[in-house]
Symmetry: C2
Subunit: 277 residues, 2 copies
């Protein structure tokens, strides 16, 4: 009996540890052999554990644990939120962005406090990532500064590196590609990216926090052309309803900034139709 009891404890501990390892590195493939070695367990045992994790995560809507076949195969976790869970997160987010006092002079919305919360940024990143697993990006590109937290968390969910374009080429980034683009209010702005940051043929997912005209995003698209990289998607947390025609094509947005009330200092933010329940 004692033996059986110990064995059971061991399985529970192994499952707890495997849950931690898989969820800590989303979308990265771990071989079964890696787990066998770490836990001194047989392949069949680890396989059973993977099934248990997969069931548990499915039942509690915590994401997907999947077995990937083939030579480079193994087990992989993706933090796939259910449609209902994503809608709940986005409804909460929209409600927070409608709080009084967030509307700033010039038609801007104060969102930094929300996007800089690591758990909120993580949820937003996970919801954005869902759209792009199939496009298999090699990197996430964003433009400094406010979009960095959600772009980093999108990159985390996809298991790829983040690349940050700068307003200026700084000495500490080495030789850089510099382009001009049309920013807010039709101003000509500058964007710089370290030459070594992106390689030809890489697949870039462009992520930012906010889209009004889409000029900055289009600037990033053009930057990727300079690097001969392919843009596999453009996603933002929130896009303004007007202008309807954006400079960048096909951008996905989680939220819509529909209107402002300059007097009451309240914004009207809604969940984008495709994310509503």
């Amino acid at each position: 009996m004692r033996g059986v009891f110990l064995e059971k404890i061991k399985r529970n501990e192994r499952l707890s540890a495997m849950a931690r390892i898989l969820t800590d590195a989303p979308n990265r493939i771990h071989t079964l052999g890696e787990f066998c070695e770490r836990f001194g367990a047989a392949k069949s045992t680890v396989s059973e554990d993977v099934d248990t994790l997969s069931q548990a995560f499915a039942r509690f809507e915590m994401g997907e644990v999947a077995t990937v076949a083939g030579a480079a195969g193994g087990v992989r976790f993706r933090p796939l939120l259910s449609k209902a869970a994503a809608a709940r997160v986005l409804e909460d987010l929209a409600a927070r962005l409608c709080e009084p006092g967030r509307v700033l002079p010039g038609g801007f919305l104060y969102t930094s406090d929300v996007t800089s919360e690591s758990d909120t940024a993580q949820r937003i990143g996970e919801i954005l990532a869902v759209e792009y697993y199939d496009r298999q990006p090699n990197l996430v590109l964003t433009m400094e500064t406010k979009g960095i937290p959600i772009a980093l968390m999108t990159a985390r969910a996809l298991g790829v590196p983040l690349v940050i374009a700068r307003r200026d080429s700084r000495a500490y980034e080495g030789s850089a590609v510099k382009i001009n683009y049309v920013g807010g209010g039709d101003r000509i702005e500058t964007m710089a990216l370290a030459r070594r940051a992106v390689k030809p043929g890489q697949r870039a997912l462009i992520i930012d926090d906010f889209m009004k005209g889409g000029g900055t995003l289009q600037g990033m698209v053009e930057m990727m052309q300079e690097f001969q990289a392919e843009v596999v998607g453009v996603g933002v947390m929130i896009a303004t309803k007007a202008p309807q025609k954006k400079l960048v094509e096909g951008a996905k947005s989680l939220l819509v900034l529909e209107d402002f009330d300059q007097e009451s200092h309240v914004a009207k933010v809604a969940v984008s139709p495709e994310y509503q329940l």
Copy 2:
């Protein structure tokens, strides 16, 4: 027998899900009641599960699952790396920063590719956080841009929000406090922070990627004084050996940039003595 089997599966699934919930929100307290409700389990059952998780995480050096007593008590996960695990991470990091081609004109080191990897940033953030759990910061402060990924991951490990100081007060952040500080090469630089970002009496942990003279960090200390916030610590990923006397006091650094070879374009980076095995 069938009943027992089902019960066992259920426990395994519950453990997997609890591991995910706890590790996904480091340093946040979850009440036992929260788990009882979610899993339809008795308090004694959930308590046992917490013990199992705690043992598993301790055995595999994955962090600490602890029970916090008192009215606001519950269960909490902290990604505490063992001294050996932290040393391994930092040795790998130092080795990467010694790769040829990272030394840039002006004595800068290219580190953006490393710090923008979400998993690397997360490990650095977790190692930095260990030093400051006891100081109970309410927020992590950094200055744009390169330090943001590791600062966000430090904030994640500590379960507190990130606050980002800007070079410029931008229209979309509202009214801001602006200060001057002595930056690299004794230049006077500007730092701005949204007025609403920090409240009087809050406890700030200052995190950045790089420290040479310490001017930017000292600027952030002065910025916190403007907000009547208390600085509970200053931590960076890498500090230059020279000058030995920094403008900011008591900063902790994970790595030391000892020297440069401008000709071979190789930096000499070592793990800080206190993090060596």
